[in-house]
């Protein structure tokens, strides 16, 4: 009798598990399908007479290398999920390629846009630029690029119109990385503002060292900007914990300015100061500043922002 009851319980348990797994697998599949459908909906059905040619192409974090020769790593430095691509064609006109990158979260869409941004807002999405025929913008969790095979009087307005249409279809806006809001605005060169996680990004914007002496990693948020008049570089890093910030500060001092010891300020060349200071889980570093006082001013500006 006891055995029969146990068997019934086991059968019930297996049935329940089966139902749960079916529900989970169904909902997972439908979510993927829903995401796919949602991204496809962002592409215009037509661009001023240009019609879609061929199917959508899509590349994930691994496949990105086959699509973008060598530049896939730039996207992988952020929370890149996948890119959707569609080509548009029109008779006797250059083709137009539209790419929509799903960056996982708005902060990283902002980051990847700012990565190579040279400034100059085209008024599309949350920030955009239109250089040499290439329109790029970010909005919500998407980074979008539109590139005509050749920039002509016809393709230029078409690309801009298509960008506006995609922006309208995305609809929502996303939030900026919180750390960016702590960067002082006064005397900041606006196009120099960057958001990143890894030391390869830091080296891209400001070559510091061949190795990761600031312990940057995927769990770290960092911002960099250049300030006039001395073109000092300010780097602000948010670590998950104060302890990690402390270790990173020690690592930096030991590898880069051992002469500074615990003070954290050092004139590495005439009128070129480097400084590092910790504030809780944040590290503030200044490079190429004209004086020690200049380092202090920038650091204090950040600290004031952090306290607000």
């Amino acid at each position: 009798m006891k055995l029969r009851l146990t068997n019934i319980r086991i059968i019930k348990l297996v049935a329940a598990l089966l139902i749960i797994s079916i529900i989970l697998s169904c909902s997972g599949e439908s979510k993927i399908e829903k995401d796919e459908a949602m991204i496809k909906e962002l592409f215009p059905d037509e661009i001023d007479g240009w019609k879609p040619a061929g199917d959508f192409e899509t590349y994930d974090r691994e496949g990105i290398f086959t699509y973008i020769d060598g530049a896939g790593e730039v996207y992988r430095m952020y929370d890149f999920r996948e890119v959707w691509v569609r080509h548009y064609e029109k008779e006797d006109a250059p083709s137009i390629t539209v790419e929509i990158f799903d960056m996982g979260k708005s902060e990283d869409a902002y980051g990847v846009f700012q990565h190579a941004s040279q400034g100059g807002d085209a008024g599309i999405g949350q920030d955009s630029e239109f250089n040499g025929g290439l329109l790029s913008f970010w909005q919500d969790r998407y980074y979008v690029t539109l590139l005509p095979q050749k920039l002509t009087e016809e393709t230029e307005p078409a690309v801009l119109n298509a960008g506006q249409e995609i922006s309208r279809r995305i609809g929502d806006t996303g939030r900026l990385p919180e750390i960016v809001s702590y960067m002082p605005e006064e005397h900041r060169i606006q196009s120099s503002l960057k958001f990143f996680h890894l030391h390869t990004s830091l080296n891209y914007h400001y070559y510091l060292a061949s190795e990761n002496i600031l312990n940057l990693n995927e769990n770290v948020n960092a911002a960099l900007a250049v300030y006039e008049p001395d073109r000092a570089y300010l780097v602000l890093i948010a670590f998950p914990s104060a302890e990690e910030a402390k270790v990173a500060r020690s690592s930096f001092i030991s590898a880069y300015i051992p002469e500074a010891r615990e003070e954290g300020f050092y004139e590495i060349q005439s009128d070129s100061w480097t400084a590092i200071e910790r504030s809780g889980r944040y590290l503030v570093a200044v490079f190429d500043a004209g004086s020690k006082q200049r380092c202090l001013d920038l650091i204090n500006d950040v600290k004031e922002n952090l306290m607000q």
Partner: protein
């Protein structure tokens, strides 16, 4: 000064280490880079240019291209004729892979590939023992059996390694190219230790017909940032060849932008190819650069 193979920081460049190529790329003042170290090595590199190598359609003229390569070979090996120079490197028993580059916006021109083939023929290499390939090198039977390679591609700025030149071109010799991407491709020179390749690359030809000196967008290409330089850089040392090409790109960027605008990311793999991997010479002051042909707008 630190050990050459260790961590290099911005301060090392500022201290006057012999990394002038990278320092210039970083936009640091050139007077900071006193050439303090003596090097036992030097590398000969030939830069040859021709005003009319490119037609109006941008295609390379096969005859002029061949003449340029032949002249460069004679000069590189100080021989009476080009055939002798080719025979200096290759012989009838050789099986030769020509590692080309098919990147859509800026591939290795056919004229360059065919001129190399003719040079190999002149050294006695049999046609059936020559293959040209890029992305299929690992499955190409000639490449798998090759006793020697010629390495050729156009010079361009590159989203991840700073520049793509001869040092980077063998990336297809690994089934896992991304495994060389760490730290902005700092150790690309390790590619040259792959057994299939090691010590077999006998000639490097960096195509400077229409180099890409700046990149934008997801694919890092816009024809606006190419120009008709009409040159080839030829040498046996891939580090010296790339370093010379990089100097020209830097000069063009100064000319175009009207200011120092460092290549991002800095192509430090060229320096590390010398300091960490001893593959060749990156310091321009130790490169024996011979300039032939058209001089207008030479930038170096």
């Amino acid at each position: 000064m630190k050990e050459p193979g260790g961590t290099l920081t911005r301060r090392d460049f500022l201290k006057g280490a012999t990394f002038a190529t990278l320092a210039a790329t970083m936009g640091l003042p050139s007077e900071s880079f006193a050439q303090k170290q003596e090097s036992a090595r030097s590398s000969r590199v030939v830069l040859i240019r021709h005003a009319e190598v490119l037609g109006e359609d941008g295609q390379a003229d096969p005859k002029i291209t061949e003449e340029m390569i032949q002249s460069a070979m004679k000069e590189l090996f100080q021989t009476e004729d080009a055939e002798e120079a080719w025979m200096y490197l290759f012989g009838p028993e050789d099986i030769v892979g020509i590692k080309s580059n098919v990147w859509g916006p800026l591939p290795t021109p056919d004229a360059v590939e065919n001129s190399i083939k003719k040079g190999l023929f002149s050294a006695g290499v049999k046609e059936e023992n020559i293959a040209i390939d890029d992305r299929g090198v690992l499955s190409n039977e000639i490449f798998k059996r090759a006793s020697a390679y010629v390495n050729t591609r156009p010079m361009r700025t590159h989203h991840w390694s700073g520049v793509g030149g001869c040092l980077k071109n063998p990336i297809m010799f690994t089934p896992t190219p991304w495994s060389y991407h760490d730290n902005s491709c700092a150790d690309l020179a390790k590619l040259w230790e792959i057994p299939l390749l090691k010590d077999k690359v006998r000639l490097n030809i960096l195509v400077m017909f229409t180099p890409l000196f700046h990149g934008v967008g997801a694919h890092h290409f816009n024809a606006e940032y190419t120009w008709r330089y009409n040159g080839l850089i030829v040498g046996t040392d891939p580090v010296a060849v790339d370093s010379t090409g990089l100097s020209i790109l830097n000069a063009r960027r100064r000319e175009y932008f009207g200011e120092e605008r460092p290549i991002k990311p800095p192509p430090h793999h060229i320096v590390f190819a010398e300091t960490r991997h001893k593959l060749g010479v990156s310091d321009p002051s130790k490169i024996d650069l011979v300039k032939l042909g058209w001089k207008e707008g030479i930038l170096i």
